[in-house]
Structures are given as structure tokens and as C-alpha cells.
């Protein structure tokens, strides 16, 4: 094979002239981080809420939450992204839809990607939270209620603090997934890390360097996430309990 390795490609001025190819990669890196983190915060909040609702005695609320989870986890991520980006603006009232379509295309891509990743991931977070709540001994809820706590207080002070501790490891996986899933958003033109990598190939014909850099960047992000989550897990460990001293 006569491939011309050229790691210096990253320092060459880019085709747009105002940056290096390394600058392109960094821009993609930042976009991936910004997209994944905002989507993760939303997913965590929404997922926690939906997960709790799935366990409450009120049948209507629990049913709504079940429907939500089934909807967002049974449709492929790519299809959901296309719906958010291509279909939904057409379904909005004309005035809002038009205003949206005339806004900055990058903003449109970012918003559609963020909402899509957030809702998709929230359904998965909700399932983790629900399993955490259901794995608590049933007596814990009774003990909270017997002390005079209302049901919301029992969730807040008794059940959720333990349930969340139990699901930190699976939530770590979801946190890692959201960074990896964000690469799907390159399909609607969002210039995140994977998209920048492909663009670099188009302009330089150096695919190996480009995709090795992209791969290492994803690994670097997730090593940081894993390290932080392990630290977090140790900090919230309960003494005398699983994972505690």
C-alpha cells in the first residue's frame, strides 16, 4: 500500500484560508462537547421526572410516562433526528415555522440535534431511574410514609437519594452514549467532530490521520467522563452500604 502519511496536515492552512485543519477539528470538538453536555443536562432532568412518574400510584401519570419511554426508545435515533429537523418545522403554525426556517441554519441544526438527543436519552435515563426506585426495599417507602412524610416528600428524602446512588453506574454508560450518539447529528449537517473529520478528508485526502484524530478525541472525552463519574460515585458512596467503606 502506498499511502502517504502526513501528520503535518493538521498544521496546514485550511481551504477556507482563515484557519488550520487543526482549527477545524477543534471547532468540531467544541461543538460535540456543547451539544452533548446541553443534551445530557436536559436528558437527566427529563429522564428523572419521567422515571419517577413511571413508579407513582396514579395510573394516568404512570401511563403517560410509559408511553413517553416507549415512543422515544422504540424509534431509531436517526429517524427521530430527521423528524425533528425536517418534519417538525413543517408541522408548526406557518408563522412560527417560517420564522424558524429563516433563522441561522447552524442554530436550527443545533436545536434539532439537542432536542433529539435529549429526548432519546431521557427515555433511557427514565428506565434506569425507574429500575433504581423499584430495586429499593418496599419497606423504605412505608417507613417514610409512616413517619408522616407525604408521597412527594418520601420520594425526595427517602427513595430518590438511594435510587440515584444505585443507578450512577448505568447512568455513566448513558452519559458516554450521548457523546457517541452525537455523531449521528452530522447527517443533518451539524459540524461536530465526526463531520469535521469527514470534511477534512474531502479537502486533504488524508483519511487515516483524520479519523485517527476523531477516534482519539472521542476516546479522550469518554476517558475524562469515566474518571469524573468514578470520582463522583466514590464521593456519594454510603458508609456501610454497597460501594461504601
Amino acid at each position: 500500500m502506498s499511502y502517504q502519511w502526513n501528520w503535518g496536515v493538521f498544521l496546514q492552512p485550511s481551504a477556507s484560508g482563515d484557519d488550520t485543519y487543526l482549527g477545524w477539528m477543534l471547532a468540531g470538538f467544541k461543538m460535540t462537547i456543547a451539544l452533548s453536555l446541553t443534551a445530557w443536562v436536559l436528558a437527566l432532568l427529563l429522564g428523572a421526572l419521567i422515571g419517577v412518574l413511571r413508579t407513582v400510584p396514579n395510573k394516568a401519570l404512570a401511563g403517560f410516562a410509559t408511553g413517553y419511554v416507549e415512543l422515544f426508545r422504540n424509534v431509531p435515533l436517526l429517524v427521530q433526528l430527521f423528524i425533528w429537523y425536517f418534519v417538525l418545522p413543517e408541522l408548526l403554525p406557518a408563522s412560527i415555522g417560517d420564522a424558524y426556517k429563516q433563522s441561522n441554519p447552524m442554530l436550527q441544526q443545533f436545536l434539532a440535534s439537542m432536542v433529539c438527543l435529549a429526548l432519546f436519552t431521557s427515555a433511557r435515563v427514565a428506565e434506569q431511574v425507574r429500575s433504581g426506585i423499584n430495586s429499593l426495599p418496599k419497606g423504605q417507602k412505608n417507613a417514610g410514609l409512616a413517619l408522616g412524610f407525604t408521597l412527594p416528600q418520601t420520594y425526595r428524602f427517602v427513595m430518590l437519594p438511594m435510587a440515584f446512588r444505585l443507578v450512577v453506574p448505568p447512568l455513566t454508560s448513558e452519559f458516554l452514549n450521548i457523546f457517541k450518539n452525537s455523531a449521528v447529528c452530522s447527517t443533518i449537517g451539524l459540524m461536530e467532530l465526526a463531520a469535521q473529520g469527514r470534511q477534512l478528508v474531502d479537502y486533504t485526502a488524508q483519511p487515516y490521520e483524520s479519523f485517527i484524530a476523531v477516534t482519539l478525541s472521542y476516546i479522550a472525552i469518554n476517558v475524562v467522563v469515566m474518571t469524573l463519574m468514578h470520582k463522583f460515585e466514590r464521593r456519594i458512596a454510603v458508609p456501610g452500604y454497597i460501594g461504601g467503606k
Binding site: N142, T150, P161
Partner: protein, 242 residues
């Protein structure tokens, strides 16, 4: 204090409680016993509304438990309950376990709640463990903390749901001693337990249940010396000879 009148409960076709009637007066100590599956735990959980029931009536200190208009949280805050598996909150230190319901439910100040908690912890002989977490205590110690936690709410009566069944034999007495002391101080108590020694020592009345019915409801002496029903005689013969 507690009036249970014609209470029945069923899951589908399965009858858990059938027409249960009894009462507990102020200062009285009642022991509820019977074979497993006889409905003892279900009955005691009906008293503070942890288990719903379909018919009959339970009145606790003038409040109807089954009435949908009753504020159950408010009622439960005045009825102490101790569980078979202790059910301390594992993520809180012992002092936090003792203080949290006082501050969040009774709206007591932090210092007041702490003081009260520590006083009760001292009473059950565990003051030295105040800073620890539940997972660092033995079963008997955890159950004593759980009793202190219930007492911290200044309950008008206490419900015990097999408080010693999950304990190592060595630890049963430390919990029974606390309960005995409480009974002697005049606390109104309803205890589901198999500890017949405890029943003989402090109970005023013994209720014997079988298949969801209250089969005997006698003064302690009558129950132990001369139980009327054959089922209670069999039960006592089996558990008393060792």
C-alpha cells in the same frame, strides 16, 4: 385510642382479613400473634393506612383511617411504627435519621430536633454511635435506632411489626428490653410478635389470628392458661415447649 370494627380486606378472591374487630385503649399493650400468613402484619399496617382495606372502619384517636378525606400523613406523624427490617434511611447518619421527620413534618428547628434525637438515642443506649450510618450498626442497634426515630415524633401510640424477627437471636433481648421499658412507662402499643416471653411480661391482652380472622382476643392470663380455640391451643403447644 385505636378502634378496629369489622375490617375486611381481599386481593381479588383471596381474603386477607375477614371481619376483624378489636380495640386498644390508652396505655394498653396488645400483642398480636398467629401463624405466618394469618394477616397480623396486614392488620397492623391497616391501622396507619399503609394498607388499604375494603370494608369496616378503623378509628385512631377519633380519626377515621379509611375515610378518603382523612389527611393520612398527618395521622401517621402521630402514630409511631417499627418495621421488621428496621428501614432506617441508609444514606443518612443516625442523627439525621432521627431528625429529618421532626424538621420536615413537625417543622421543629434543627437544634431542637437534634437535641430530642440525641436524648432518645441515649435512652436506647446508642449515644456513642450518633455520627455513624445505619450500615455500620448491627441489626439490634439499627432496630433500637428505629424505635428512637419513631419516638422522636412524640407518638400517641406505637405499632410494632415483628420487630425482632429479622434479628440474630443474640440481639433480640436488647430490642425487647427497650420495648418493655416503653410499655412500663404507659405507652399505648400494638405489637405483632412471636416473643411469648415479652407477651407474658408486659402485654395486657393477646390477640390470636388465623386465616385472616381474629380467633382469640383475651386477657393475657386467660390466653396463656386457657385458650378457648383449638387452633390457639395448637399454636401455643408448638411454640411454648422450648
Amino acid at each position: 385510642m385505636i378502634k378496629i370494627a369489622n375490617v375486611s380486606k381481599h386481593y381479588g378472591d383471596f381474603k386477607v382479613l375477614t371481619d376483624c374487630t378489636t380495640r386498644v385503649s390508652k396505655g394498653e399493650v396488645i400483642v398480636v400473634c398467629g401463624p405466618s400468613g394469618s394477616g397480623k402484619s396486614t392488620l397492623i399496617k391497616c391501622v396507619n393506612g399503609l394498607e388499604p382495606f375494603q370494608s369496616g372502619e378503623i378509628i385512631v384517636d377519633g380519626t377515621s383511617v379509611g375515610d378518603p378525606k382523612t389527611n393520612l400523613s398527618k395521622l401517621r406523624a402521630r402514630v409511631g411504627m417499627v418495621f421488621q427490617n428496621f428501614e432506617l434511611f441508609p444514606h443518612m447518619s443516625i442523627t439525621e435519621n432521627l431528625a429529618i421527620a421532626q424538621t420536615k413534618v413537625l417543622k421543629r428547628g434543627k437544634d431542637e430536633a437534634m437535641d430530642k434525637g440525641l436524648k432518645l438515642l441515649d435512652r436506647v443506649g446508642l449515644k456513642a454511635h450518633a455520627h455513624k450510618f445505619p450500615g455500620q450498626l448491627s441489626g439490634g442497634q439499627q432496630q433500637r435506632v428505629a424505635i428512637a426515630r419513631a419516638l422522636a415524633m412524640d407518638p400517641i401510640c406505637m405499632l410494632f411489626d415483628e420487630p425482632t424477627s429479622a434479628l440474630d437471636p443474640e440481639m433480640v433481648n436488647e430490642v425487647l428490653d427497650v420495648m418493655t421499658e416503653l410499655a412500663q412507662e404507659g405507652m399505648t402499643m400494638m405489637c405483632v410478635t412471636h416473643e411469648m416471653g415479652f407477651a407474658k411480661r408486659v402485654a395486657h391482652r393477646v390477640i390470636f389470628m388465623d386465616q385472616g380472622r381474629i380467633v382469640e382476643d383475651d386477657k393475657k392470663d386467660v390466653f396463656f392458661s386457657n385458650p378457648r380455640s383449638e387452633r390457639a391451643q395448637q399454636f401455643l403447644a408448638k411454640i411454648l415447649h422450648h
